[in-house]
Amino acid sequence: MSVPRPAGTLVRIRAIFPPGHVRTPFYLRGKTGIIERVLSRFRNPEQLAYGLDAPEQQLYRVRFRMAELWGDAAEHPDDTLDAEIYDHWLED
């Protein structure tokens, strides 16, 4: 089991587009945020949904600035959005 990335780490959400019961919303893919808090490890729902072997994955809450998500269309650039993201979706 690898050591979790600590809170405050800058991470990018992978810009990949696999089919299926994916828990990372499209609008966050390729976006950069910081880890707001480290959550627990949970069985990977992307496999659990199909009754497959689903090893535990580290889950994080990642915080994004609205300006990062929506660019000039953001209502208020410094507002934030937090989402739960599994480790295998993160890159440094």
């Binding site: 919303p25 949970f42 998500l69 208020h76 507002d79 959005l81 739960e84």
Partner: protein, 212 residues
């Protein structure tokens, strides 16, 4: 002849409306088929199904409101609630099931809003069933793209200098907002305080009621 006893007219003269007079959707038919199969095969009983539906219907935002009122009155409970929501609400006898509760606090400078863009994740064990609008594509898409416009439509205008934090409930956490305690509520009992806490105040689309 309104008082004739006729198959299609009630004694008061109005036509009877048939039971279930709209067609079932694909998914409703699927649910009935799966439920009947599970019962026929002895996996569950009809009684277990109806008991579970009753338990789901009995949960309501009043449960979440009790948690909020306790946090307003008890600073140590509030600290435990913000640190580990599931453990703190279990002290009050509320079970959040396999999901984990995250409680997010509104302050003078922060307002929080909860959405589930992928489906309809909602803290049902504390708030009951979600309102229909929470499950619409419109709310789910607009709450992340233009949350301040959505709040204005709910009648919530954020003061200057208040930052908005949107929480997309994408995986195993469930969220409730701990609203800011309204002014003029000193000395109120826990139950009276709980009566100020609406469902929407705990989703973030509303604010607590002002005391009478």
């Amino acid at each position: 002849m309104p008082h004739d006893h006729h198959d299609h007219v009630s004694p008061s003269g109005h036509p009877y409306r048939a039971d279930n007079d709209t067609p079932l959707s694909y998914w409703q038919v699927m649910e009935i088929a799966v439920r009947e199969l599970l019962i026929e095969k002895g996996e569950v009983t009809s009684r277990q199904v109806s008991d579970q539906i009753s338990r789901m219907d009995e949960r309501s935002p009043a449960d979440g409101a009790k948690v909020v009122a306790r946090a307003w009155l008890d600073a140590e409970f509030k600290a435990r609630l913000l640190a580990n929501g599931s453990a703190a609400v279990s002290e009050m006898g509320f079970d959040v099931g396999p999901m984990h509760l995250v409680v997010i606090e509104n302050t003078d400078t922060i307002h929080n809003l909860v959405v589930c863009t992928l489906c309809s994740c909602y803290p049902r064990n504390l708030l009951g069933l979600p309102p229909d609008w929470y499950k619409t594509r419109e709310y789910r898409s607009r709450a992340v793209k233009e949350p301040r416009a959505v709040l204005r439509e709910f009648g919530v205008e954020l003061a200057d200098g208040v930052a908005l934090r949107v929480h997309d409930s994408t995986a195993d956490m469930r969220y409730i907002v701990l609203p800011r305690r309204p002014d003029g509520t000193d000395g109120m009992s826990e139950q009276d305080l709980a009566n100020l806490v609406s469902r929407d105040a705990m989703i973030g689309t509303g604010l607590p009621r002002d005391p009478a």
